[in-house]
């Protein structure tokens, strides 16, 4: 890779970041860098143009008007000790040094690699009913996190937000053999005003809602993937146990 040919922009405001991103064509966005830099170093990624978001003013957590808003470049470490089940999901990401560098927006946008799914926080954001605000082609857009995960490729995440209300929450994850494993499988649950939401991270390339469980039934209608971390066989057998544990954790917080 001839790095010298790559144009690098370091915006100093959200507007500058959006202007530099444009319609998102041929742009490599670097937030924390914990996924992009290894790909660059190993030659798996050959950008033509890059935007470094470190100084774009997209970080920080605010509570205002009944909403919690988390800026795209807020480090994963800033979620620890905050709202559940996001706080526990964040604590399961890598080690404290990586968590201080990795960002919420980066984790949300990380596509599954051939080796592992990578969106450790996705299930927790889904059960919180989070909304993703993004920019790019067609202008600014806000949508539920599930819709963003399905259709958000090529967008620049600005922030993620959810209602600042009391919930019962639960979280259960497969133990990791090493701190740097991506989440093998994790289940997040949240109950608000009697409405239960349950989702799994690690089952497939992106987190999925477990609607049959939300309706009081067994796990059904989801498929597990095979990859370097675990087999589909293992994941499909582990999933009902993690659902039980997450729901028990949720009842404990009641």
């Amino acid at each position: 890779m001839a790095l010298a040919d790559v144009d690098v922009v370091v915006p100093t405001s959200p507007d500058e970041a959006l202007a530099a991103f444009g319609d998102g064509k041929d742009v490599t966005v670097v937030a924390g860098g914990t996924i992009v830099l290894p790909d660059l170093t190993a030659g798996r990624l050959r950008p033509t143009r890059a935007i470094l978001l470190a100084r774009a003013g997209l970080d920080g957590i605010t509570r205002d008007g009944g909403r919690v808003t988390i800026g795209a470049t807020t480090p994963v470490s800033a979620l620890e000790g905050g709202d559940e089940p996001l706080a526990t999901a964040a604590h399961h990401v890598a080690d404290p040094e990586i968590r201080g560098q990795a960002t919420v927006g980066g984790n949300l946008c990380a596509e599954a690699s051939a080796d592992a799914p990578r969106g450790d926080l996705q299930a927790a954001l889904i059960v919180l009913g989070a909304t993703v605000r993004s920019g790019g082609k067609g202008g600014e857009r806000s949508e539920p996190v599930e819709d963003f995960l399905a259709n958000g490729a090529g967008r620049l995440v600005l922030d993620v937000s959810y209602d600042d209300v009391a919930r019962q929450t639960g979280y259960a994850a497969a133990s990791r053999p090493h701190a740097h494993h991506y989440t093998i499988l994790a289940v997040a649950a949240a109950k608000r005003d009697g409405e239960l939401r349950v989702a799994a991270t690690g089952l497939g390339p992106r987190a999925v809602r477990l609607t049959s469980v939300e309706q009081g039934g067994e796990v059904s209608g989801v498929e597990a993937r095979d990859d370097a971390l675990a087999s589909a066989w293992y994941r499909s057998r582990l999933l009902p146990r993690l659902v039980e544990r997450a729901l028990a954790d949720l009842e404990d917080t009641g």
Binding site: V8, V10, G33, L37, P38, L40, A50, D95, P96, I98
Partner: protein
């Protein structure tokens, strides 16, 4: 762009997407941060960025304009070792030495942040650091002595 390393300001010319690790090793000739896995997984390239332990292989140079970087050379000298360096020396916390700079800086930051940290806090702080000599028993003895001595 400007980068302060161990108190000395440098005008850096590396490309903005070069990892800090290669800026330090190749442009500035500071080789204590080790190029291990270069994928964020081993901890050997750890430096302090504005006082926080970070993987220098994961941070693009362009994001660091004006930052203050500290490597092991910046926390003590051969005549006046930092407490963590003295403890590693005393307790033989280094075997081949490749992982040592990362362990030293992570422990140094832990002592600054949480003097008297307990074993669980130590395990958490060092979770991202691998020693392929598997010298963990000696390393942890050294870390516990350094952290205990800082109480």
């Amino acid at each position: 762009m400007k980068l302060t390393v161990n108190g000395v300001e440098h005008e850096v010319e590396s490309h903005g997407l070069q990892p800090l690790l290669s800026v330090l090793r190749e442009e500035l000739g500071i080789t204590s941060p080790k190029a291990g896995c270069q994928q964020g997984g081993c901890g050997a390239c750890t430096v302090l960025v504005d006082g926080e332990p970070r993987r220098s292989c994961l941070i693009p140079a362009g994001a660091l304009n004006g930052a203050a970087i500290t490597t092991v050379e910046g926390i003590g000298t051969p005549e006046h070792l930092a407490p963590v360096q003295a403890a590693f020396h005393e307790h033989y916390g280094s075997q081949c030495g490749f992982c040592t700079p990362g362990f030293l800086l992570a422990t140094h930051a832990l002592i600054e942040r949480s003097p008297g940290a307990d074993r669980a806090q130590i395990d958490e702080a060092l979770a991202g650091h691998a020693c392929r000599c598997t010298g963990y028993v000696k390393i942890l003895e050294a870390v516990e002595a350094a952290v205990g001595g800082a109480k």
